[in-house]
Point group: C2
Chain length 455, copies 2
Amino acid sequence: MGWVRTFRNNQFIALNDGSTNTNVQVVLTLGDFNEDLLKKITTGASVKVTGDVVASPGKGQKLELKAKEVEILGDSDPEKFPLQPKKHSLEFLREIAHLRFRTNTFGSVFRIRHALAFAIHQFFNEKGFVYLHTPIITASDAEGAGEMFRVTTLPMENAPKTPEGEIDFRKDFFGRSTNLTVSGQLEGELGATALGEVYTFGPTFRAENSNTPRHLAEFWMIEPEMAFCDLEDNMNLAEEFIKYIIRYAIQNNKEDLEFLAQRLEDEEKQKPQAERSEMGLMQKLQFVVDNSFERITYTEAIDILLQSPAYKKKKFQYDVKWGIDMQSEHERYLVEKHFKKPVIVTGYPKAIKAFYMRQNEDGKTVAAMDILAPGIGEIVGGSQREERMDLLVSRMNEMNIPAEELWWYLDTRRFGSVPHAGFGLGFERMVQFVTGMTNIRDVIAFPRTPKNADF
Amino acid sequence: MGWVRTFRNNQFIALNDGSTNTNVQVVLTLGDFNEDLLKKITTGASVKVTGDVVASPGKGQKLELKAKEVEILGDSDPEKFPLQPKKHSLEFLREIAHLRFRTNTFGSVFRIRHALAFAIHQFFNEKGFVYLHTPIITASDAEGAGEMFRVTTLPMENAPKTPEGEIDFRKDFFGRSTNLTVSGQLEGELGATALGEVYTFGPTFRAENSNTPRHLAEFWMIEPEMAFCDLEDNMNLAEEFIKYIIRYAIQNNKEDLEFLAQRLEDEEKQKPQAERSEMGLMQKLQFVVDNSFERITYTEAIDILLQSPAYKKKKFQYDVKWGIDMQSEHERYLVEKHFKKPVIVTGYPKAIKAFYMRQNEDGKTVAAMDILAPGIGEIVGGSQREERMDLLVSRMNEMNIPAEELWWYLDTRRFGSVPHAGFGLGFERMVQFVTGMTNIRDVIAFPRTPKNADF
C-alpha cells in the first residue's frame, strides 16, 4: 500500500509509502486492468497492490512488483491535487505544509530530523543523563531571554481587577501571571544539582516580531546541565555531542542526505560562483566530524576581526571593538572566512551575558561559551554557572533580577552548592545545518511565526 | 564529588552523586581531619573526596573510599536545610519540588521516568516511526478535547477592538486567536498520511479546574499514528508498546524499582488488609509483561457490569446502561475485580466519542479502543480514524465541528485517503503505573495544577 508518485504508460506505477524516497516500481500488464480503474491511478492517489516481487529488467531498480490485483484506497483529483510531479518552490510548499511531507525534499528533511532527535536521546542515555521535562508554563520571567507569550484563562474583555484597578491575576488559572517558557535551564540546574547530569528536550518560545529565515516563535531546544563540571568539560561535551549526532545521521540517513546534498548542489548552481559553498553537504558534515573545533577567547576573536581585511576595508556593517555583542556578520567571518570550521568562543564580557554565568578572575568576563557553525551562526550557547552565592546575588542585584522570586534557584547555592555547567542547542538550527535547508521554516513541521499559526 | 546524605561518628560519610540510591561509603580516619572541616560535613553539603577505593570490612557495601583529602564544595546549614535524614511526607516534598530530587524516592522516580521516555523513543525508532513535533501553539480548537489556555501578546487591559467592539485578534501575535494544544493527533494524521508511521511525544494542556491526584494542567503525551493500519493493528501495537517499555524498565531500573516496591509495600501496610493490593509492584509489572491484555467490546463490558455483584448490590455511584461514558468506578471494577489485568475495550457508542473515529457498520458504534490499567484507569485512548470523506464530513456537521477551519485535515481524505489508526498514551499515568506513585504530581518534575505554577 502506498501513494502513487507517478503513473506512466498505463503500466508503471512509482509507489511510495513514506518510509523512503526510493519508490517501488509496480508493473501492470496492459489489458489486465479495466479503464475505470486505470483512470483513478493518478499522482497522489493511494492504492493497494497485490502481486509478485520479481527481478526488474528495467533500469533504476533491482526488483519490481508485478501486479495481480490493484485496489484504489483513495483517489486524488489530478485537477485539484496541489503536488504535481514537478518542482515546486519552497515558498509554495510552506503554504501547504500539511502536504509537503509527501515530497522527496520534505520526506528526507523529516526523516533526518527524526534521526537527529533519536541520536540526541541515545547520546545522553548512554552517558547516564536523566531526561528532565521542565515546565512549559512558567511564572518565572527572570531570565530575561526575550519577549514572552502570556498564558491565561482570564477573559480578554473585562478581565477581573483588583481594588487598585490592576488586572487581578490571582483570579487567573494559576493564581498568578504566567507565560510560556523561554528556557528550561534554571529548572535544569535544580535537576543537575540533585541527579548529577540531566538534559531537557522540549519546546521554547519567543514572542519576538522577527520575520526572518532564522527565527521561529516556537522551537525545540536541548539543554544539558551537569553537576561537578567546569567550562572545559562543558566544551568537550558539546563538541562530542555535535559530532555524535552528525555521525549518527551520516551512518543512518545516507540516502536522504545524498538526496538533499544533490538538491543543495542544484540550488547553488543558481548562485554566482563567488557565493557558492566550497564544500558540498556531505563533505561539510564529514569535515565537522573529522576535525577539532577551533577554541578561542572572545578577546582573541575581536583581535582577529580588527586585523581582518573585511574590517580594514570597512566591509562590516556594525562596528568592532572589545565589548560588542558580535553580530552575525562577525561570527560568519570568523567561522566561514577565517577558521573555516566550527569555532568555540569563550570568555565573553559579563555585561552582554546572563546573570547566572560564572564570573572570571579578571572581573570583566564570564565563563561563557558559544559555538558558531558555518552557514548557521550561533548553534550552541552555554556557560559554567555561578555557584558562589555571594557573587551570584550581587550580580542579580546589579542586573535587577528579583532574588526573592528566584528563592528556589538560590537554594541550590545555599545547600550543597557545586560547580556546574551546561549549554543550549537550538534543535531547528542543528537540523538546518545537517539538511542544508536555508530557511528554518522548512525544518519544522508547522512553523509558528508572526501572523502565522496555520495547521 | 557528591552530596552528603549522612555523616556518622565523625568517620563515615554516605556520599551520593545523584546517579543511584546506593551511596558510596567514605571513611575518614579519626584525627586526620580538623574540627572545622568535620563540622561542615553535614547532610546536604557537597564535598570532593580524594582517596583510595578499598575493600570494605563493614556490612552493606563491598567497597569503600578511604579519604586522603576532603574538600567542602558547598556547605549546608543543618538548621535550615529542609531535607533531613528522616521520612518526609510527599505533601511536604511537593512544596520543595526543587529539592525533592535529592531524596531516594524522587531520585528513583525520575530515573525511571527517564528510562521510560528513552524506551518509548527506542521502540518507535526500531519500528521505523518518524518522531514528529506537532505544534504547541495552535489556532485550532476543533477537537473539543477540553478547556484550553489562551496564548496571547495582547495587553490584558484595553486590548484592541474591532469596529464592532470585539477583541481584535488580528492584532495578536499570530494574527488570530491562539491556544495551547490539547492533542497533536490531527497534525499527526497529516504526518502519517505522508510518512507512513509517525509519533509525537510532547506537552499537552487542559485548563480544567480539576484539583485531583489524577489531573495535571500540563502533561506529556505520546501519540503514534499509522497509515495502512486498522483497529486490530492499533491494539496490537499499543499492547506491544506498553509491554516493551515496562520490560525496559524492569531490565534497566531494577534497583530503583525495588526501592519503590519496598516503599509501596510499607505504605500499603498502613491500609486495612482489604484495601491492599494483591500484588507487589514488581509482581504487577511482570504480570502485565507476561500476560495478554483482555480484549472486550463496550457492549460486553456493560453486560459484565450489569451482571456484577457490585451493580446488583447498588455499590456503583453512577448508573450502568448501554450508552454511558463509563466512570472510573466501572473501569476499575472491570480491570481490578473482574479481569485482574489490563483490558482493551473497543466499539464505544459514537455519541460519546470524537468526530474523527471510524464509524462501524452497526451505525451506533465507532472503532475506538481504550486501554484500562489496574490502579490507573484509562491509560490509552485510540481509534481507527474515519477515512471516508462523506462519513467524516457528515459526522462533523452533526457535531458542529467547522469543516472549513479543518480544510487541511480534510485534504488528507480528499487526496489519497488511506485507512489509518492511532492512539494517545498519557506519559505521567504510565510513570505512575510503573513507579507505583499514587499522586500524579509526584511523577512530573514541577506539576502545573490550578493555582500552582511554582518553580
